[in-house]
Every structure is written in C-alpha cells, then in structure tokens.
C-alpha cells in the first residue's frame, strides 16, 4: 500500500489531470462528466459510511488514483471504476484508523452527525424550499415535468398503476422509467439545493 504521508505534497498538474480524465473516460470523451459522476459515487460511498467529510475524502481518493496513474504510466489490471473503489476502500480504512487513534468511533461520528432537529425546517425555510422546487420544476421541459410528476403522484397501488401507464405512454420499460425519474429527481435536488443556498 502506498505511503500516503510521503506523497502528501504531491500536486496534480494540468497534464496529469488531463491524462486522468482520459483514463476515466476509457473510450469516449465525456468532457469531464465521467469525472463528476465518479466523484459523486465516491461522495455517496463515504457519506454512507457516515464519514464526517465525504467531499474531502472523495477528492483525496481521486487525487490518489491520479497519482498512481502518473507513477505507473498505465493501470490495466482494473477498470477505472474498480480501481477508484479500491482506492476509496484504502482511504476509508485510513480514516477509520485515524479515528481510532483519536479514540473516536464511527458510531460516535454518527451521533455527532445525527441531529433530528436539523430535519425540521421552520415555516420560512419550508416556504423557501417549496418556492425553489416550483421554480426548478418549471425549468424542466414538458416531458420531464410530466414524467417526474406522474412518477411520484399517488399512493401505493395507484402509484404503481400510474407508473405502468407512464412507461407505456413514453414507450419505455418500467426499469428505464425508474432510472429516468431518478435522474430527473437528482437534477431537481441539485437545483433546489443551489436555489435554497442562494436566497
């Protein structure tokens, strides 16, 4: 396992970064989209582990993967996704060791993080969030708007029936509908998050 401390001062050059993006893309130039998707996966990974700073750990993982690529010239034993996951595991294990060193367990991290009161918005916050949501829904094109509203309206059996007819209407499978609805919802979440933080 590479000694992280010795490489602490390693900086990602523009050329290294370009090579890293190409390696992540594998075949097709995604114009950086693949990098952002991988970063999002890593943030979700560390977040699910209840790490205190998932964004920092994700960046550390990507930096480490880029450094390894530069050192070795090429990485052909694993796909980029698998390699990034492997690096993420190492970063997480080191994070755990640091925590244990400071006698703070992950469970205690979770307690620090958990604050159910933080789940409750006051009336102004709720209003702001709802306004932002309406604004963000308005930015969707008609098809996406219809899809996201139709996908989540109704309860239980009604919702299941709605989704079946929605899939039929758009001429896609139920699975494809689920994926598209999730992607639209993610877009909306991001839009609302940005909007709420702006106001």
């Amino acid at each position: 396992m590479p000694n992280v401390e010795q490489k602490k001062n390693w900086l990602l050059s523009p050329e290294s970064f370009r090579k890293f993006l190409e390696w992540l893309d594998e075949t097709e130039d995604s114009e950086g989209r693949r990098y952002l998707e991988m970063r999002e996966k890593l943030v979700n990974y560390f977040d699910r582990k209840n790490c205190l700073s998932p964004d920092d750990l994700a960046d550390e993982t990507l930096n480490r993967a880029a450094r390894r690529l530069e050192e070795e010239g090429a990485i052909e034993t694993e796909t980029p996704a698998k390699f990034c996951y492997t690096q993420a595991r190492f970063v997480f294990l080191e994070y755990l060791r640091r925590k244990q060193k400071n006698d703070v367990s992950i469970g205690e991290d979770a307690e620090k993080l958990a604050d159910k009161n933080a789940l409750t918005d006051d009336a102004d916050e709720k209003e702001k969030r709802l306004n932002c949501l309406e604004k963000c829904v308005g930015k969707l094109d008609l098809d996406n708007r219809e899809m996201i509203i139709g996908y989540y309206f109704g309860e239980e059996r009604t919702k299941i029936e709605n989704r079946k007819s929605l899939a039929g209407k758009f001429g896609i499978s139920a699975n494809a509908l689920t994926i598209r609805a999730c992607r639209i919802r993610e877009k909306l979440e991001k839009c609302v998050r940005n909007c709420v933080s702006e106001k």
Binding site: A114, L133, L142, I179
Partner: protein, 331 residues
C-alpha cells in the same frame, strides 16, 4: 449475492442487475446499515462497477425516503432510518427535498373532506379571500346552475347561452337568434386554437334561456351547446381543489383563470389530470386584464382531480406561474 430465477421472485419487488436478480429489500437493509460487512462491501463495489445497479440503489433510496416522509415506516425500520440514515447532513437534505416534493404532490392529490355544500362554499370563499364583488359573481353562477338544473327537470330542451353585455342586436327571429348566439360563443372566449378574441367584455353573464321555438321547430336541429362556466381565483398554498359540478349533458367547459398582477408577454395553459398527463394545451395567448380564458370539450373530464398549469413567457424565458386545481364532479 445469490442468483435466483426470475420466476421464483415477485416481479414488483425485483431490481435487475445485469444477469443477477437482487432483492430490493436487501438494498433497503444496505441503506439502513443492517447488512453484514461482507454483504455491504459487495454492494459498495457493485455500486461503482455496475451503473444499472447504482441506479437501482438510487431508486430504492428515493422510495425509502418517500416512505419515511409519508409516515409509512415503523418499528425497527423507522428506528434504523432515524438513527442511521438521518445521521448524515447530506441525507437529511434529501429527506427535506422529499418532504417539499411530497407537499407539492399533496396539493394536487389530497382528497376533499366531505362537508355540506354551503360549508364548502363558505370555506372556498374564505380560503381564497375573495372580494365581495367576486364572491357575488360566484354566487350568481352557482344559483344560475341550480336554477338551470331545477328548471330543466320539467323542460327536456334547454340551452345555456353566453351573452356579452349588452346583448348584441339581432334582427333575426328568436329561434335563429338563439342559434346564432350559440355559434357566437367561441368568439367570446379564447380557445385552444389561439383565436384572438374580439372585444372581450369582462361582464360576461351566464343566462339560462328556454327557447320554446327551438323545441317546436321540427326540421331545424341547431347544434346544442351546453356550456358550464367557472372562474378560478389565484391559488394559495394548502387550498383544497375547487369543485366543478358538471352535468352529463354539458358539451363544453369554459374556465376563467384569475392571475396575480404580472407583466408576462404571453401565457400557456396546460390542462392535466392528476397523474400529470396532458389533456389539452392552450397557448400562446395574452391575458385579458388579469385573467386567462380557456374552453374545452366536457368529454375530456371524468369525475376526479385536474390541474391547469399556467406558464408565462417574458424576454424569451418561460416559467410556471401557478397551478390551479379543481375537482370535476360529473352528475
């Protein structure tokens, strides 16, 4: 992860990952931190290397969050959600978003509590803070509707006529003039064909005319247009859907959508059902005063909740302004 044949598993609960079938319930346990270390690691890895599996986790996560927001989680699952899932600020933001999204959905789908007609009418007036004059218009419409249906019991042939006030002079016979007024109706109101209306008179009255001459004329069969007309005030949060009582004989429905003061160049209105399915689009047209008038065939409606989604365009940018909700009650 064990492979099971597709036919062994209930199809609604399955998420396909490449050639393997994975139990959605397993994904929920993963999200709640209930799986063993080995199983967790397997899913972690799969979420990186398999895009469709990553999508399946997202879908399961959204459904779990929505279930929590709707109060459908209980027992151990609820406890795990609140202690484990809500431990992260990032995940708490997702729950807040879901709650806001659920709010939006509830505004459109909340069933109306049963209450007396008058109480519902009073609540409607109060909720919408209608002015006295506007409330009077609503009252006239309702009383006109009651008179129409009461009168109609004894008179099989009736027509609903919309007239501009003052009523235009017409030198034709009464029978012909009634027919003429029926066919003139489209000019008074914007249609989905975007006809620019002639001088729209704000003082549009509903008149119920019984024209015995039409009944007695054996050969003339004028097109009978049965029009139900309604007005919707600008929506406020928490409002219940407004009831539109519509008889089965109604052929057309005309609705005036009152707008908040604004300066949009043009508007578009989309009539949808409660699942978001588009039924009719009207646009682009300009508001008359602070209202939009639309008309559509009554056969588009069944008893249920519908929405008018109004969007405005200014400087090339379009945004949704309001969503008006109503409940069609077909009698």
């Amino acid at each position: 992860m064990s492979y099971k044949g597709e036919d062994e598993l209930p199809s609604y609960n399955r998420i396909k990952m490449n050639t393997e079938i994975y139990d959605k319930q397993k994904l929920v346990e993963y999200l709640l931190g209930s799986l063993s270390e080995d199983e967790t690691e397997q899913i972690d890895e799969a979420s990186f290397i398999d895009e469709s599996f990553a999508d399946a986790i997202s879908a399961a996560e959204n459904d779990l969050i929505d279930a929590y927001v709707r109060g459908e989680l209980n027992g151990a699952k609820l406890e795990q959600f609140e202690t484990h899932y809500l431990a992260s600020p990032r995940r708490r933001e997702k729950v807040k978003f879901a709650a806001a999204f659920q709010n939006l959905a509830e505004l459109e789908t909340k069933p109306e509590k049963s209450e007396g007609f008058f109480a519902a009418f009073v609540n409607f007036l109060n909720a919408n803070r209608l002015s006295f004059g506007f409330a009077s218009i609503i009252l006239v419409l309702i009383l006109g509707g009651i008179w129409f249906f009461a009168f109609r019991r004894n008179q099989p042939e009736n027509e609903v006529v919309i007239q501009k006030t003052p009523a235009p002079e017409n030198k034709q016979t009464p029978t012909e003039s009634a027919v003429q007024q029926n066919t003139e109706i489209p000019s008074a109101i914007n249609t989905e064909n975007n006809k620019t209306p002639e001088k729209v008179n704000k003082n549009v009255n509903i008149q119920i005319n019984r024209n015995p001459q039409i009944e007695k004329t054996p050969t003339a069969t004028p097109p009978k247009i049965m029009l139900a007309s309604f007005v919707l005030a600008p929506p406020l949060r928490g409002n219940q859907p407004v009831n539109f009582p519509i008889s089965k004989q109604t052929t057309d429905v005309a609705v005036r959508l009152e707008l908040e003061p604004n300066d949009y160049e043009s508007y578009r209105v989309v009539l949808t059902d409660e699942t978001g399915g588009n039924l009719r689009q009207f646009g682009n047209f300009r508001a008359r005063g602070n209202s939009l008038n639309v008309r559509f065939p009554a056969k588009l409606l069944k008893s249920g909740v519908y929405l008018f989604v109004v969007s405005g365009t200014k400087d090339g940018a379009t945004e949704i302004l309001s969503t008006y909700t109503f409940r069609a009650v077909i009698k």
